[in-house]
């Protein structure tokens, strides 16, 4: 009975083995040198603690790296990449096992384990791994070079990379086949079937005489070795660098709640500059991010600015920042990236949520805006500068009289703050904009019906500062925030109807010392509904729900509004881009203040998506979304007539009149 194993360095002269290791070392050396050079670039950046809670980071990072969850989310390429990765991983593990047996256990302890049934499994796994990797690579090759998806950019050495990897895998099988032609074909057929791919080649090679096979094998072995050396060496210089950078970046994730922005210390007298103006203003993590980008373009595919022909691609922005950093000079980031790109962002977070390399785009964009706003007094347009002035003078971006802030609430059943269950932080649009005042009134009606007592700050309320902050005006934001926090001092529970107020009070204000509980109405009303605190008359009708970025991607409130929609009796027809894949209305990131002068209108594109569902109403739960949708639905050509409403309006409509009288 033949033993089920193989001779590891079959046909390789013993003298060649050290040379093999020398070449491997050479390849690794070049690789390390390449990464060391990159390390120097990262080190230009400022310090940032991203290794706290290392155990958790390692666990989460490793899980992500091994299971490829983020990479796999994309249809098509996700599966191709993952199976390629897993195939490759099997080959890598197999090769490592060989190394362990041949160079460690066997010479030191005389232990061999690549034998018997384990060897059979090993052999089959290696063959299948290689086969899967080859097929997946063919798929990826087809996508990149034949199908050529829009916006996919080449990187240096892409062609060489494909050639190298393909040839390594192919020569691997050929080598196996040559070896098997001599050692297994006709000798140990029972074992040979565990190398099915190799066996195909082996049967073919078996037609040759052994001498030819052996010299072919040796030559090919050397060629294979050269390819592997080249592979190692090219890693830091091609997109292959992501083999290391992406998993490492998984370790460095931001463990703040989503949407966290660094709260600048504006009183810092030693600070020469604020925001991100040049590479030395970045943190090492920012620079690392620019290097971790794999040009997969998933961010770009989802970017509302890019999709409406504006000069912003999150991918290109990150790469342009990287270019400045790799010049190792203090060049201007905003010049490299382009100011129009910086201002075009709606901070919708679609890029960050989708990025398989965990790159943090939005904080960088806000950082560059901060530099423009705080150091140059620059904004995307006069209308935004004017809004900044209105924030300062009137505490709202609309320029309305602060004394009129609570006019909408006249005669409504509100209570003094001390008696209230919740302080309703109304926000500027619901306070001053006639359309959104209806939403605020609907909320008060709903709360009243539910027997929940609401108070408002009234004239004392100021803009939460969100649009100013997202436009880079951290100074103005902190001023407004400080004043609001002062007014909210004795308040325990706050409810907002605006997701931007919600995010800002609930997350951003924490750095400034605000401790009250904050909830968005969708979550609160759903609770009321579950607690049977109000009844609804069900009305039919087909609606679609537009997820606000700050409710959904930032805060994960997807189910709550949908639950309430269902309670109204409406038939919900989802847009393709919904939930975490929702497409922004165009008003986030302070863009509500700005003219949309470049490209086509984001809101119209979104309204068209909504129209395609055949819905009569596009429902949202955000004053900015409602404002944008209101404008956009009017501009739709033909098709289904559609109106824009806030979820609260549907709820208030559905409240039975008797319900009201009872309360």
């Amino acid at each position: 009975m033949l033993e089920n194993t193989r001779e590891i360095y079959w046909n390789i002269p013993a003298s060649s083995v050290p040379l093999m290791y020398l070449m491997a070392a050479l390849g690794t050396g070049v690789m390390l040198w390449g990464f060391a050079r990159r390390l120097k670039v990262y080190k230009q950046g400022r310090s940032l603690a991203r290794l706290n809670g290392l155990g958790r980071r390692l666990f989460l990072g490793l899980s992500e790296a091994l299971f490829q969850g983020k990479v796999g989310r994309e249809k098509g390429i996700g599966a191709l990449h993952n199976f390629f990765f897993w195939g490759f991983l099997v080959l890598f593990i197999g090769t490592t096992l060989i190394f362990i047996q041949t160079d460690i256990l066997e010479p030191l302890a005389g232990i061999t384990f690549l034998k018997g049934d384990f060897y059979k499994t090993f052999s089959l796994a290696m063959d299948l791994g290689g086969l899967v990797a080859l097929i997946m690579m063919a798929g990826m090759f087809t996508r990149r070079y034949l199908l050529r998806p829009k916006g996919l950019l080449p990187e240096t050495g892409d062609g060489w990379m494909y050639l190298n990897l393909f040839t390594i895998l192919l020569t691997g099988f050929l080598l196996e086949g040559l070896r098997m032609a001599v050692t297994e074909v006709g000798l140990n057929e029972a074992l040979a079937i565990y190398s099915p791919v190799g066996l195909i080649f082996a049967r073919w090679f078996a037609l040759l005489d052994e001498g030819t096979i052996r010299s072919l094998h040796l030559g090919l072995w050397w060629f294979h070795l050269v390819l592997v050396t080249a592979f190692l060496a090219m890693i830091p210089f091609t997109r292959l660098k992501h083999l290391f950078l992406t998993p490492i970046n998984y370790l460095f994730f931001d463990d703040h709640p989503k949407g966290h922005l660094v709260t600048l210390d504006l009183e810092d007298e030693s600070a020469e500059s604020f925001g991100l103006g040049k590479p030395s203003d970045l943190t090492w993590k920012d620079i690392f991010d620019t290097d971790a980008c794999t040009s997969c373009k998933r961010c770009q595919d989802r970017c509302p600015a890019y999709n409406t022909d504006k000069p912003l691609s999150p991918m290109k922005l990150i790469q342009d920042m990287g270019k400045v950093c790799f010049e190792m000079k203090d060049g201007s980031l905003s010049e490299a990236v382009g100011k129009e790109a910086i201002w075009a962002c709606t901070t919708c977070r679609a890029c960050m949520e989708t990025c398989p390399a965990d790159i943090e785009h939005v904080p960088k964009i806000i950082g560059m805006r901060r530099n423009l706003a705080l150091m140059e007094g620059e904004f995307p347009g006069d209308e935004v500068a004017k809004a900044m002035d209105s924030f300062e003078v009137n505490y709202n971006p609309l320029g309305s009289a602060p004394a009129a802030r609570a006019d909408w609430a006249e005669g409504l059943p509100l209570v003094p703050i001390e008696e209230a269950d919740y302080l309703y932080f109304v926000g500027c649009y619901a306070s001053f904009d006639a359309r959104n005042q209806k939403v605020a009134k609907a909320f008060v009606k709903l709360a009243h019906t539910a027997g929940v007592k609401l108070a408002i700050l009234g004239k004392g309320e100021r803009c939460c500062g969100e649009p100013a902050r997202k436009m880079g005006n951290e100074y103005l934001y902190q001023t407004l925030a400080g004043e609001n926090i002062e007014s909210l001092q004795k308040v325990q529970k706050v409810v907002t109807t605006c997701p931007h107020c919600f995010q800002t009070l609930n997350r951003d204000y924490r750095d400034l010392g605000f401790t009250g509980e904050v909830i968005h109405y969708t979550a609160l009303a759903e609770q009321w509904w579950k607690d049977f605190r109000f009844k609804l008359d069900r009305s039919p009708g087909k609606v679609t729900y537009h997820d606000s970025c700050y409710l959904g991607r930032y805060n994960g409130l997807y189910g709550e509004p949908r639950g309430l929609l269902e309670a109204t009796g409406r038939d919900l027809s989802e847009m393709t881009a919904s939930g975490p894949e929702s497409f922004c209305c165009g008003a986030g990131g302070g863009r509500i203040l700005a003219e949309e002068n470049l490209g086509t209108r984001i809101s119209v594109q979104r309204a068209q998506m909504a129209q395609k569902t055949g819905a009569e109403v596009v429902v949202s739960s955000c004053p900015f979304c409602l404002t944008m949708m209101e404008d956009a639905v009017k501009g739709l050509d033909g098709g289904q007539e559609m109106v824009a409403m806030d979820l609260l309006e549907l709820l208030a409509q559905g409240l039975p009149e008797s319900n009201l009288k009872e309360s």
Binding site: A373, M375, E378, F379, N394
Partner: protein, 255 residues
């Protein structure tokens, strides 16, 4: 060169103005205040001259008004003025143009200002007097309502905006005062470092003096007639058209 820019802090025009019974000015409670819009152009023009002249120039910003006016001065300092003078006068908003001009005159007459900027008028009172009066009191040349301004070798070249948008080109020599019309330039948004620096710039607060007697007596102040909730014009089309034509005629909006 000593440059002066005179500014006023005014209530935001979006405000809902409330006049107390028998009062001669509106109540300030709950109102938002800002730099008079015209004065923002004056500040910007002055800062541009100062920046051009470098260390050879010193820019003073002055405002007459109640305590709150110091906020306007701070913003002007953040925009680039070097020092501020606050002529503290709780009754400032109710003073006649002539009284204001006299008070400013007595505060600045010995300071040797060679170039003075003011807004064309204030948004609240709209008298368009103080700038020209100040120049006349100081005995220096002045031109009003500039929409173009340049300063070269002691010579001012400017364009006055006339009705219908025609512009009259004028020249004059310093010492001089110019009043600034909207659109003269693009007033800057102060940068954070400048806001921080402004906090340390000197601000001198002086009691107001030398105003003299008032020349106007305010007998009444209130909402102008005819403003209010919209009147609905309903009925059949021809009646509606006739009614609108009549309104246009009554208001001399058509011949």
């Amino acid at each position: 060169m000593n440059i002066l820019v005179c500014i006023k802090q005014v209530a935001d025009m979006e405000s809902r103005f409330v006049v107390p019974p028998g009062g001669s000015w509106f109540e300030e409670t709950d109102l938002a205040f800002r730099i008079n819009e015209y004065d923002e152009y004056a500040i910007e023009a002055a800062v541009q001259v100062k920046e051009k002249l470098g260390d050879a120039a010193s820019l003073t910003v002055l405002s007459l008004g109640p305590q709150r006016s110091s906020e306007a001065l701070k913003k002007a300092l953040a925009m680039g003025a070097d020092q501020a003078i606050h002529l503290l006068d709780p009754q400032g908003p109710q003073k006649d143009s002539l009284q204001v001009a006299r008070a400013i005159h007595s505060a600045v007459k010995d300071k040797g200002f060679e170039l003075i900027f003011t807004g064309m008028q204030s948004q609240d009172r709209g008298s368009a007097q103080v700038g020209i009066l100040l120049a006349e009191l100081l005995g220096i040349d002045s031109v009003s309502t500039l929409v173009e301004f340049s300063f070269e070798g002691g010579k001012i070249q400017g364009e006055r905006e006339l009705e219908g948008g025609i512009r009259a080109q004028v020249t004059l020599a310093t010492p001089a005062l110019v009043t600034c019309q909207l659109g003269l330039n693009q007033p800057r948004y102060p940068t954070l470092p400048n806001i921080m620096k402004a906090k340390k710039k000197p601000m001198e607060t002086l009691e107001v003096s030398g105003t003299g007697e008032a020349v106007l007596g305010v007998k009444e102040i209130g909402a102008p007639p005819k403003r209010g909730a919209a009147e609905l014009i309903e009925g059949d089309l021809s009646a509606q058209v006739a009614q609108v034509v009549a309104i246009l005629k009554d208001n001399k909006l058509i011949g």
